[in-house]
Symmetry: C2
C-alpha cells in the first residue's frame, strides 16, 4: 500500500501524525511519502501544485490530506489552486461524507434521535466548475456570473454510486437534495437521472427534498435520512450542517473518490486548518483517523477499517466529552485500542 500524505497547514500535520500512528497499527507495511503542499510552500516558492508533484501523487494508491488554508494566504488561493485542483485533476467525482452521531457524543440538538447517514456529494462539476467571470470590473455596471455546469455523465456516475451504497445499507433509502423548483434545468436533469437509476434499483426507496427544506429536516428530524445524493454546492452546505448535527466537524471524515480507480482517491477530515489552535496539541485527530478508515475501506481493507471505526466508537462513548485529551493523547488511545 503506497500512500501519499499531504499534512498541509494549521492543525493538518498534527492530526495526520496521529492518523498515521493508528494506520501503522493495522497496516504496518504501508509506504508513506509526504508531500509539502500548502501555505508554507506557496509563500516560499509561489507553487500550489506543481505538475511534477501531481504526477507523483498519481503513482499512489490513495492520498491522505490533513488540511489546507492559512490566514496569511488570500482566501481562495489554496482552496482553488490546491484542494479543488486535486479534486478536479484526480477526477474525485464522489465526495463521500458519512454523518453518524456516535453514542456518547453530544451534538447541538436537544433530541436528535439516531443519526446515521451518508452524503454522496458530486465533486467535479456544478457551481464548482470555475465557469464564470467579471464584466466592467470596478464600475457601477459591474456584473459577476457563476455558471453551474451539470452533465448527464457527471450526475449519472454519482447517482449510480449513491444507489449502490443505499442498496448496501439496511434502510435502502435515498434522498435527492436539490432546488428543482428554481434551478429548473439542472433540477430537471438531476431528477430525471435519479428516476432512471431508480429503475435499476427497485429495492431502494427514493425521496426528494429541496435544499432549503433539507436544512430544516436535518435539525428537526435527521434520522429520516439514509443516503443523500446532491450536487457539489448543496453538498458542501449540507455536509457542514450534518457534521454540526453529529457532533461537529472535529469528528467528520470524508473521501474524495474516483470510483473508476483511474486516479488515487483522497481522504481528508472535513475540519479546516483551524489556525487558531494549530501547533498546540489541542486539535481532535478523530476525524483524520476516521478518514483513514474510509481510505482503508476504499482500498478493500474492510477488516482494518472496521477495527478503526469500532475503536473510535468505543473511545467516543467512553471519553470525557469536556476534556477528551490532547491531540497526541487521543491518537495514543486510538492506536492502543486498534492494536488491542
Amino acid at each position: 500500500m503506497r500512500l501519499a500524505v499531504i499534512p498541509g497547514d494549521g492543525i493538518g500535520p498534527e492530526v495526520v501524525t496521529e492518523a498515521l500512528k493508528v494506520l501503522a497499527e493495522v497496516v504496518p507495511s504501508a509506504e508513506i511519502t509526504k508531500y509539502d503542499l500548502g501555505a508554507s510552500r506557496w509563500h516560499a516558492t509561489g507553487e500550489l501544485l506543481p505538475e511534477s508533484v501531481l504526477s507523483e501523487l498519481r503513482q499512489h494508491d490513495a492520498i491522505l490530506l490533513g488540511a489546507v488554508g492559512d490566514p496569511s494566504v488570500p482566501s481562495g488561493i489554496l482552496e482553488r489552486g490546491l484542494l479543488l485542483r486535486l479534486r478536479f485533476e484526480l477526477d474525485h467525482h464522489v465526495n463521500l461524507r458519512p454523518g453518524r452521531l456516535y453514542p456518547g457524543v453530544r451534538g447541538p440538538l436537544a433530541d436528535p434521535g439516531e443519526v446515521d447517514m451518508v452524503v454522496v456529494r458530486e465533486g467535479t462539476e456544478g457551481p464548482y466548475a470555475g465557469n464564470g467571470g467579471l464584466l466592467r470590473k470596478d464600475t457601477e455596471q459591474e456584473i459577476a456570473t457563476e455558471v453551474s455546469v451539470n452533465t448527464a455523465f457527471g450526475i449519472r456516475r454519482v447517482v449510480a454510486d449513491a444507489f449502490a451504497r443505499a442498496e448496501q445499507r439496511p434502510r435502502k433509502h435515498l434522498t435527492l437534495v436539490h432546488k428543482t423548483n428554481v434551478l429548473e434545468h439542472a433540477g430537471s436533469l438531476w431528477s430525471r437521472i435519479v428516476e432512471e437509476e431508480s429503475l435499476a434499483h427497485p429495492d431502494v426507496t427514493v425521496a426528494y427534498s429541496h435544499v432549503d427544506a433539507a436544512t430544516i429536516h436535518l435539525v428537526t428530524d435527521p434520522s429520516r435520512f439514509d443516503v443523500i445524493v446532491t450536487d457539489n454546492l448543496f453538498g458542501d452546505i449540507i455536509t457542514d450542517l450534518v457534521a454540526a448535527v453529529t457532533g461537529g466537524i472535529g469528528l467528520a471524515a470524508s473521501g474524495n473518490l474516483d470510483i473508476t480507480r483511474r486516479n488515487p482517491s483522497m481522504f481528508e477530515p472535513v475540519h479546516g486548518s483551524a489556525p487558531d489552535i494549530a501547533g498546540q496539541n489541542l486539535a481532535d485527530p478523530t476525524a483524520a483517523v476516521l478518514s483513514v478508515a474510509l481510505l482503508l475501506d476504499h482500498l478493500g481493507e474492510r477488516e482494518s477499517a472496521r477495527r478503526i471505526e469500532a475503536s473510535v466508537a468505543f473511545d467516543l462513548a467512553t471519553r470525557d466529552q469536556n476534556s477528551p485529551g490532547s491531540t497526541q493523547a487521543i491518537g495514543d488511545r486510538l492506536a492502543a485500542l486498534v492494536s488491542s
Copy 2:
C-alpha cells in the same frame, strides 16, 4: 391603506383570514381586495399571473400572500410562474427574514441562547435569474447550466439596506454570508461592495462567513448573528435553517421589499401551502400575523406593528406549546390581545 391579498393554496386562505382579523383590530379602515391566484386558477384557466392582475396589484400599498403550491401542479410551475414572477416583476430586491427565538418557544437546539437576527436576502438576481438551459436533452451528452447573475447595482442596494438596518439595531453587526473561496467572481463583487459600504457605516462591525460554515454557526452559536446579508440562493437556504432554529417555519414571517417604493412590497409567511393539513383548521397563523406586522412596519405604521409583535410574543410565551389551539382559536386570541 389599500391592500391586495392573495390567499393562495393549501393553508394560505386559512392563515390569511386570521391575519386579516388581527389587521382589522389595528387598521379597521384598511381596504382589502382579494386576488384569486394559485393552483385552482391555474387548473381552471391555465393562468398564473395575468398582466391585468399584475397591473391591479401595482395599484396597492402592499400585498399579503398566504402560500402558493399544490401537489396537483407540477413542481416549479407556481413557484416560477407566480411567486418568483411577482418578486421579479415588482422588483422585490430585499427579501427580509427576521429570525427571533421568542421566549417560551422550544426550537430543536438544546442550548440556543438568545437568538434575534434578521437576514437580508437579495431577491431579484443570483441563481434565481432564470438564466440557464439544457443542451442535448435526453441524451447521454445532456448538459444543464444555471447561471448566477450578480450585478453591482443589485448587490449594492441590498447591502446598503442591510447596513442601514444594522445601524438601527443595538448590536450594529453585519455578517456577509457567501462562498467567496469557490465562487470567486460573485464572491469578489459581494465582498468589495460590502467593504465599500462599510466605509459609509463605520459604526457597524462587519464579519464574513462562508455559507457552509454559517450553517454550523446557526446550530452551534446562533446568537453570534445580528444582521446577515447574502445572495438569493444562500438566503433561501439559511433562512429555512434560521426558521427551524427559532421554532419552525410556522412562526417565520417575511417581507419581499421594493425599498424604492416604486412597487408594492409583498409579505408572506415562510411556510408553504402545507397541503397535508389544509382545510382542517390546524395551521398556525402566527407567521401570517407576523407578516402583517412587517407589512405595517414597512408602511410606516410602526405603533400597530409593535402592538402585533408584542401580542404574538405574549401569546407564544403563554400558549400551550404542545396544543396551541386551532387556526381560528389562535387568530381569535391574537386579535383579542391586539385590541386589548
